[in-house]
Amino acid sequence: MIETVLELNNISTGYQEKIILDKISLTVKRNETLAIIGQNGSGKSTLLKTIARIISDNSGYINFKTEKIDKLATHKLREKGLSYFVQGGLVFTSLTVKEHFNLAFKGKSKVKKKALLEECYKQFPDLEKLENSLGGNLSGGQRQMLSFAMLIAQETDVWLLDEPTAGLAPKMVEQVIDFLKRMESKKTIVIVEHNDKVVGEIATRVIDLDKFKN
């Protein structure tokens, strides 16, 4: 039987008094790629923010692997094996590419760092030349590449991706699809995406929040 890595049970969530999602339940199995689709305002990003504990005053409960994560702060999730790709990417404008790696590698051994860095540069060779560039000076495509490299560097096995292809040129979207396809067998992915092509090519299961809510 395939292991359930993420379970949302009767989750109601939103911003302060405004409830965006009411009594949502879903499960995510290991190594599946679940795409969350829906109209603007349907609560796709709110759902990911709630799992990532950016929004924390929800009712119901969230299980990650075998642990309840409702009471955890966002910074604890990485060590549990969960990464959250924030809408817009994982890039600090005032940190260099090298500093991003140092931050993502924090707490890892030298050997591990070296291996992860090699893996990141293998996946995204262009990043090696940009080592000393500030995040704020990268192009949209470079920012997205750095963000995906950060996911690899964090060495987590479950990824929450909030619109990773937003604003990218078609050629870059193809590269993102290729990358995610390469990762599919190793990672569990929950992706919020507007681009039908991305959803069609990588999702193993799709949830339409508009239908889900009705």
Partner: protein
Amino acid sequence: MLEIILQIVFNSIVSGIILSLMVIGFNYIFSVTKVFHLAHAGIFTLGAYTFWQLTDLGLHWILASTVSLSIASIIILFIEKAVYSPMTKKKTDSSVTLIASMGIYVIIVNTIAMFFGSENKIVSLSGDTFNIIDVIISTNQIIQLLVGIIIIVIFYLGIKLTKLDLSLKAIANNDILGEVYGINSKRIRSLVMIIGSAFAVIAGILTTIEIGVEPHSGMNITLSAAAVAILVTRLDVKYLTLISILLALFQNTVEWFLNAQWKEGLTFLILLLIILYKTEGLVSYKLRKN
């Protein structure tokens, strides 16, 4: 004339180092918490007065400094947990937080004035002076200079070696993203509040041993620190110290050749001119314009 210039330069290096302590504390607190922490001035005064009172009671200056730092740490943690942090969580407008900080400053300073009066308090550790190439130097100034430099160097090396500088820069840039990277932003906020306030307390104590302090002394130096924070938007100890010394040199030159009353006015006139010309400040991250 040469000896006057040398005297101004030496005095500016000393007062610039003390200003640097205020600037580093203010800038790190502002960058990480986004609170324009004018109550920093109150912490400066609180530290100085606690030190004065304890040495007056006969405590050794090292013990008096330690107790002053501890009291300031407890008070700033209370302010962070009871005022700043809840306001940040509720996404309160920055102008409201500024007023709250101003209110805290008024409460601290008025309480101090009520209990200790408004006259200048000095704890002179030494009355000795000596001359080097016609520059009059007091032992207290040497203490100010050495302690200030040692504290700044320890801080600079400490945050580099522990990689804390990276976490500080990350949270200052984007606290939610910092959390996603595994940084405990609440702990970083509390830590920066304590370290920043320790810098203000040390600046207060160092001021007490040479020219002394009165309840409102903290505000002028904090406004100068805020001016440097606007000119240097990078979290970089080297630039913050350099610009602080240059500002002290400017202020001491104005004071010597014009009048002490012109000092703050001209500082802010220059600040306005620089900001009008370079909105991002003198030292900032060079980001491309989209």
